[in-house]
């Protein structure tokens, strides 16, 4: 369960404050949640706030659950470290012992299918490779909520399919919060939906309702 209490978040732009959330109070029940919104509505910012690496100007986001780091296209890797040492770093971060770390490294290596690139600096990776590494890495850890921002669309068709299968298996034990522009993926993976529009955050018990509403907003163009 996630609780938003009077949460306000805005950015300064040239024309004034741009609100992502404007005094939002909302309780989001447990479940797999799809986040919808037009480009620039603040979906990624919302994800980052849930991951506690971005902070609202007012109000609080409260939850007793654990959240993964927001899994985005950019990864969260340091360019001059190899894929392996990036994985090792996260294992150390989460206090894994040597044996566990070894297992995780092997798992990520085989899942990401990076081959020799696994031992090369991540700055040599393409964005698809970074996405694969990041996706494999997050699957190796246990959270109550996985925060996934568009990463299901990385790699080639075959890898996308594999990633989806792996995620489906993973969400038997945990929940996922998913940002995607692919409505099919959203309705497959999620049961409930959140719609972010003009500083408002709306909750839907049925993700398909959220998708319908989103399409309406998109048509009107505002």
């Amino acid at each position: 369960m996630i609780q938003l209490n009077n949460v306000t978040k805005y950015f300064y732009t040239k024309v004034g404050k741009k609100y992502i959330l404007q005094d939002v109070t909302l309780t989001i029940p447990e479940g797999n949640i799809g986040i919808l919104g037009r480009n620039g509505a603040g979906k990624s910012t919302l994800m980052r706030m849930l991951g506690k690496i971005e902070f609202p100007q007012k109000g609080r986001i409260v939850s007793e659950n654990s959240f993964s780091w927001p899994l985005g296209l950019r990864g969260g890797f340091v360019g001059n470290m190899t894929g392996r040492s990036n994985v090792k770093f996260v294992c150390n971060l989460y206090g894994k012992n040597k044996e566990e770390a070894h297992q995780i490294i092997e798992y990520v290596k085989s899942f990401s299918e990076l081959g020799d690139y696994f031992d090369m600096p991540t700055k040599t990776y393409s964005s698809g490779m970074k996405g694969r590494l990041g996706f494999g890495l997050s699957l190796a850890f246990d959270f109550d909520y996985m925060l996934i921002d568009e990463t299901l669309s990385v790699g080639d068709a075959r890898f996308r399919k594999k990633a989806k299968e792996a995620l489906k298996k993973k969400i038997e034990q945990c929940n996922v919060i998913l940002v995607s522009h692919d409505m099919k993926t959203l309705s497959q993976m999620c049961q409930t939906g959140l719609l972010l529009n003009n500083g408002e955050l709306l909750y839907y018990d049925d993700v398909n309702e959220a998708i319908e509403h989103y399409k309406e907003i998109n048509k009107k163009g505002k």
Partner: protein, 265 residues
């Protein structure tokens, strides 16, 4: 329960960051590691060569009060290098680790602490190497006059560097030029910090000016307790204390105000 947990997380983060920095040091090609360990040897070689050219005799005895110039140089340069490296590496700590702030456990200040610890570690390895070489060649005065005080001097200097480094790192995030200014200034500091000369040979008028530089006090402190034949009577402990307390407090205050902005930059 909660507190214990967060302390545990803190140590796990520091450990992970420290290992990462160490690994990067080893993987950054031979040049990085080479310079880390040979920098002081080269400095020593150059300054002893200059010394021989000027005075005409080797580092054994200088001026009326005789002391071992080689040991004097070594203890000064290693300490000064530590200060310079801590300062330079902490300035860039936030920027170099920005990709890691995606993990909520990693607070920006942890990256500064990890880098300070790494420099402390590298410095101790270098010190051990020097002591080992000194023993091997049976240099007479290689061991410090007062081990505990020298150790205190080094740690105190590291604390001073940490404070200044934190302050500059926070400042550098929002005012780019501070970091560049400090990098340039730290070069000039070598001449103005009593690293390769004792204050006692400096003329009175200049000495009084030099004493405004806090590093001079640290250098005199370390030299005075390391080298036989030197003392610490120019050292102003109160001045050192002011310089070790003020920057970290100012830095921490600024940091706490700006932490969230640094994370989500």
């Amino acid at each position: 329960m909660k507190l214990r947990n967060s302390i545990k997380i803190f140590f796990a983060v520091i450990r992970a960051l420290f290992l990462r920095e160490l690994e990067m040091r080893f993987n950054s090609g031979r040049s990085g590691l080479f310079w880390t360990f040979f920098e002081p040897f080269i400095q020593l070689f150059v300054f002893i060569a200059i010394h021989v050219l000027i005075t005409g005799h080797s580092g054994k005895a200088v001026h009326a009060r005789s002391y071992d110039y080689t040991v004097f140089l070594a203890s000064g340069f290693i300490a000064f290098n530590m200060f310079r490296h801590i300062l330079n590496s902490t300035i860039g700590a936030f920027k170099a680790n920005r990709g890691l702030f995606i993990y909520k456990q990693v607070k920006p200040i942890d990256t500064v602490i990890a880098r300070v610890l790494l420099q402390l570690f590298l410095t101790s390895v270098i010190v051990l190497a020097f002591l080992f070489i000194g023993f091997f060649f049976q240099l007479a005065n290689i061991f410090p006059k007062d081990v505990a005080m020298v150790l205190l001097g080094y740690l105190w200097l590291a604390l001073f560097a940490f404070g200044v480094g934190l302050l500059v790192a926070v400042g550098n995030t929002f005012f780019m030029s501070i970091g560049k200014f400090v990098s340039i200034a730290s070069f000039g500091l070598l001449i103005l910090s009593a690293v390769f000369y004792p204050l006692s040979i400096v003329p009175n008028s200049i000495r009084n000016l030099l004493l405004y530089n806090p590093l001079v006090h640290f250098m005199e402190f370390i030299h005075g307790y390391y080298v036989y034949g030197l003392d610490t009577h120019f050292v102003d402990y109160r001045y050192m204390l002011i310089w070790t307390v003020t920057p970290p407090f100012l830095g921490l205050w600024l940091y706490l105000k700006l932490e969230k902005r640094i994370i989500s930059e």
